[in-house]
């Protein structure tokens, strides 16, 4: 061990010197992640609020106005205005001025007072299906609320004693009570960013040695591949950890994301994930001959799969089975589960130990393959 460490030290030292010399790359590695989180945190927002609504009220009664106001008095809907003509809706929605139109028929209040069922029409812009589904949900909920109030009033009027709702529905949402997408996304972003920086920087650092021919001199020296790989990877692990801390800090300041669980556990899981990522980077570097190819391969392997297949944005559960099988090849998939568990839920390792095992297996496999491939060069 002491012997291994002896040769490791000069390699780590040299690698650090090169990283520090290359100020631009260092700045990119350290600050881009924090910058990305700011961008993504604001842009990747799935919260649906301030939907612009137009109301076409044919009834224009006290009840109909009350019903319309029940929407507008929330942060979810903003009133565009009351329309005079039904045909205006077409135009407004076509030009994306409004996203939803509420049409209240002329007999709305008469029917309700008579204790009969009344019909309203809601027209939703379905161009963005996610938003449309959410808006539909809001309208249903508010209408349900309003119906209940009318029902209670009717009960009271008819003198019924049992003016109590059969089920009192009181939802409570755990871990992210305000249902903010930022809270859900930030752990994912940490994984996404770490994956890209770690894989790209290691792949480039080894291919650079090939491209500049410096590997020749290392090959004939008594350095073995394990020493070279560990020595090269240590500085990038440290840089990636600093970048991860920066992301957490920005997440905390801008998006109120706090780590509910143990920082130590977070560090441990992150380290395991980084080793897997760096292994992937080394594997790429054994296949690529130029930094350009390495960069392309690294971004291709990391960016899209991590974005789409890791559960970062889209739930894996909803994917077709074949795609679900592919997600097992994306290391961020395991890391994200653990990260969300630690950051949002504050739970311990018992909740996600299986994910850690997968990560260790993945990292071990990738690293062994890359060391075998490095050996082929004669290291």
């Amino acid at each position: 061990m002491n012997k291994l460490f002896k040769k490791l030290k000069p390699i780590v030292k040299k690698e650090f010197r090169q990283v520090i010399r290359d100020r631009r790359t260092l700045a990119v590695l350290l600050f881009i992640p924090a910058f990305l989180i700011t961008m993504f945190g604001y842009a990747l927002n799935f919260d649906v609020k301030h939907i612009i609504m137009a109301v076409y009220d044919e009834d224009n009664s006290k009840l109909s106005r009350e019903y319309a106001r029940s929407f507008i008095h929330t942060e979810y809907f903003d009133l565009y205005g009351y329309l005079n003509d039904r045909d205006q809706i077409d135009n407004l929605m076509g030009n994306e001025v409004i996203q939803v139109a509420l049409v209240i028929p002329h007999d709305f209040s008469n029917y309700l007072i008579a204790g009969k069922e009344s019909k309203v029409q809601v027209i939703i812009d379905g161009a963005n299906s996610n938003t449309a589904t959410t808006v539909n949900g809001y309208v249903e909920a508010f209408t349900g609320d309003f119906s209940q109030k009318i029902m209670l009033k009717t009960f009271l009027k008819t003198g019924s004693k049992a003016a109590v709702m059969p089920i009192d529905f009181r939802p409570r949402i755990w871990f992210n009570p305000e249902l903010k997408s930022a809270k859900f996304l930030i752990p994912g972003l940490i994984g996404f960013i770490l994956m890209i920086t770690a894989v790209v920087s290691t792949a480039l650092s080894i291919v650079r040695e090939k491209e500049r021919n410096t590997i020749e001199q290392i090959l004939v020296s008594p350095v073995n591949p394990l020493e070279l790989v560990i020595g090269k990877v240590v500085p990038y692990i440290l840089i990636s950890l600093i970048a991860a801390a920066a992301v957490l800090l920005v997440g905390n300041i801008l998006f109120d994301v706090v780590v509910n669980g143990s920082y130590l556990l977070l560090l441990l899981v992150t380290l395991i994930f980084l080793v897997a990522c760096l292994g992937l980077g080394i594997l790429i570097s054994t296949a690529a001959e130029t930094q350009q190819t390495a960069f392309m391969m690294a971004t291709m392997i990391t960016v899209l799969p991590t974005f789409i297949l890791s559960g970062f944005v889209f739930p894996i559960r909803n994917m077709p089975e074949i795609i679900q099988a592919i997600t097992y090849l994306v290391p961020a998939r395991y890391y994200l589960v653990a990260l969300r568990a630690i950051i949002l839920k504050g739970v311990g390792i018992t909740a996600f130990w299986d994910q850690i095992l997968y990560l260790i297996a993945f990292g071990g496999l990738v690293l062994s393959v890359s060391i075998v491939r490095l050996r082929k060069w004669g290291l």
């Binding site: 040299k14 010197r17 010399r21 500049r212 290392i218 090959l219 004939v220 008594p222």
Partner: protein, 312 residues
Amino acid sequence: MGESAITVKNLTRRFGDFTAVNNINFEVEKGEIFGFLGANGAGKSTTIRMLCGILSSTSGTAEVGGYDINEEPEMVKKHIGYMSQKFSLYEDLTAAQNIEFYAGVYGLENSHFDERYRWVIDMAGLSGREHSLTGELPGGWKQRLALGCAILHEPEIVFLDEPTGGVDPISRRGFWDLINDLSDKGHTIFVTTHYLDEAEYCNTIMLIHAGNIVAGGSPQELKTDYIEYSMYELECDNVIDAMESLRTKNWVEDVSVFGTSLHIGTNEEEAERKVREELSDAGIEVRRFERIIPSLEDVFVHLVQEDKRISR
């Protein structure tokens, strides 16, 4: 005969169907300067890579510093120094940082480090420029620094692969002085080169062509043993036409162009008269004709042509 530093036995390396090195045998004595010559693709680099323990042989073996290249490549690596054809130090580190790095890799003790560090700086003439970026140093300095890093750990055997490629003539001269010093101190030097004038500095020369050793010996032996006829140099116009008209004559053993003159090998007693006659028939005037001592270049051109003729 002294002890041998390198012993090569039936060493062969194939890449698929292609035989890069074909069953070669030779010995390198301790402390000598051993020149390994051949054209690009002749098998020089493949041989060096095998001897440095970074490429295993297909069959046959070699001992370098007493260690088998296939069995103990790690031990081989500890006992050799290697300077590659292409500059391979870190250009984005300073000269001092490069030395420090290789000292660490070869496990130089701290006490020993200072002494070796000074030695490399002095040898490379880098005093005062230790903290310049390596990439910003002029060619000759870079090359001496590369040599310094390769022999920092005082290896018994030093491999130099085309060490003077792309270096100006004065630096080349200085570099060979360094090589001679090392050899005097007992290091064995295994050097490949394109420059045949440099080959004259070697104690022993081995010529490899198409994976085969075609000749070996001291420069003197090569000149006398392999050329069994007299060499003449002649100057005339139209050297190509002159060569064409002489080549077909049965009394001419060898004829080749050297710049603006022609070298002719023959056993004919009255060579000058016959050549002048022949060329004046072809309308070519001979301006100068004299007997020369064959240079290594003559020897190699002859040997390579011979080898081609045999393999055809």
